[in-house]
């Protein structure tokens, strides 16, 4: 995949998010837009995921599952979820719920929605594949607010002890959670130091730079799980949503959808 195409794909994913968010009057638009560039880089560059070789695919776990619209839209662009199925998102008698249910579609590896769950499931899967000498890699996306969960640090301690170098965790570090900023609510940083102290390879990148994301996702350190702290902006791509806490909750009206789409063209 040529790197220059990734921005085009990301823009398409953002358009799909705005479409389904508007149709369903869904919340969590900002949370979804925040991680689009990460998911685009994963699904269209870093991960081995091929419909014709499905059983050997790499695994992606969306632990911050309130950003489900971003995953659904990415999977739709990838052709794993049909556009018809995507259009049933959060509709009555529809196809896809607001948070993930793995029985609704292929590509949804883990049901999730409560924070601090998917991460630990991903650790178990990574250990399982390693024991089976299965070369598949496991990727998980966690939120920064999610990292206030004790389960994250329980898992962090064991994943490094188990030398899970087939596991890559990306933290969507947009510094906005439901009702505040992680940096203001608790002693959040220094994040790389914390993960390093837990035995992980840790790096920090611009979570909207495809070049930096590509570089960070490449390779790793033998015997160590990897965490990428991706500096992001909640609501990225739509100027009036960017870094605004209200876009954790606000809905995209028809008028706002038009305005957002116009701005997206310029992004």
């Amino acid at each position: 995949m040529d790197v220059h195409r990734l921005p085009d794909i990301a823009e398409k994913v953002r358009r799909l998010i705005l479409e389904i968010a508007c149709r369903s009057r869904s919340a969590h638009v900002g949370s979804s837009l925040s991680c689009v560039d990460i998911l685009t880089t994963l699904y269209f560059h870093a991960m081995k995921i091929d419909k014709n070789d499905w059983k050997n695919r790499d695994i992606f776990v969306l632990s911050k599952a309130h950003a489900a619209m971003a995953l659904y839209s990415t999977l739709a662009c990838k052709g794993i979820i049909s556009m018809k199925k995507l259009s049933g998102y959060m509709q009555n008698d529809g196809t896809l719920p607001a948070h993930l249910d793995r029985f609704t579609s292929p590509g949804i590896e883990v049901s999730a929605g409560s924070l601090g769950h998917g991460f630990n499931i991903a650790i178990g899967m990574a250990h399982g594949y390693k024991l089976k000498r299965d070369g598949r890699r496991v990727f998980a996306l966690i939120g920064d607010g999610e990292s206030e969960e004790g389960s994250i640090w329980e898992g962090a301690m064991f994943a490094s002890k188990l030398k899970l170098d087939n596991l890559t965790v990306i933290m969507d570090r947009n510094d906005l959670q439901g009702y505040g900023r992680p940096s203001e609510l608790c002693h959040f940083e220094p994040m790389e130091d914390k993960w390093k102290a837990f035995g992980w390879k840790a790096l920090r990148v611009d979570g909207h730079s495809f070049t930096e994301l590509k570089g960070a996702l490449k390779g790793g350190e033998k015997g160590k799980p990897k965490v990428i702290i991706a500096e992001t902006t909640k609501g990225k791509g739509v100027p009036f949503m960017e870094d605004e806490m209200k876009w954790h909750y606000f809905i995209v009206t028809d008028e706002l959808r038009e305005e957002a789409m116009r701005h997206l063209c310029k992004y």
Binding site: D101, R102, E109, V110, S111, A112, G113, S114, G116, H117, F119, N120, I121, A122, I123, G124, M125, A126, H127, G128, Y129, L131, K132, D134, G150, S151, E154, G155, M157, F158
Partner: protein, 303 residues
Amino acid sequence: MRNSVIERITKEAGKKKDIFLITGDAGFGVLDNYKKSFPERFLNLGVAEQNMIGMASGLGLSGFKVFVYNIVPFVLYRCYEQVRNDICYQNVPVTLIGIGSGVTYSPQGVTHYSVEDIALARTLPNLVILSPSDPIEAVKCAEYAIKSKDPVYIRIAKSGEPVIHTGRVKDITRPVVLNEGEGVAVLFHGSVSTEVVSALKGVDRRPKAVSVPMLQPMDFSSLEKELKAIHTIITVEEHFVEGGLGSIIAEWIVSERLDYRLIKLGIKNEFIHKITNNAGMRSHYGISSEGIKGAIEKAYGNG
């Protein structure tokens, strides 16, 4: 019973390479043989119950048949949301082996009792709940769990419980009749079975005694067949009197408009401040052999 279950799983692990055993820092003297025989398929995930259940789910999703061993509070209470979301909602074949059922660990204190576990577990769809009454049933429960594609919760006391069945136990998915009787039936599960057995020895009229190791899903049609000549059901369990077997039977009687009188014996729904051993606690809450005997006599109208 815990030894019977673990020995059975250890034996199977030699044949089936997908069996995996996780503990949360419990199992000294119990898991040693498994740990030594299958170190690759064993993990002590320490004092971190949320991660323990999450990882069990992930190992299950990657194709392993996972067993998790811990005392009940650390396999079900501390990590209830993980059991709900990561095991039952994902519907992965993980078996939770909870030890120290009821007030086995008296007088360790309330933190170590599991008197509401069935009430909690039975709200979880997909979860099979097993509470064996003796080591024979315990082995059968382990065998059921080994074959099962569903999440399973096995509730057991500790080790050293006596065998109560004189005959062969064919099927733990159905009520297991310990002895025949008329008019009154005693339904029970778990290690309190020894109190039932000893109560039966001291009564004039012997009631029908039925062990119910599978509490969820309950085979009501088999149960109804076993209760044909019965007017009074007595449920006995080392669990809160509300929320366990007694409640399951009460709901069934009401929903099916059945004509049984029901006497529920169990632990009063309260935080237990009494300090005494397991036998003393059973006596205090009316589930010792004396308490059960009294209930049987009352049910026959001569108490």
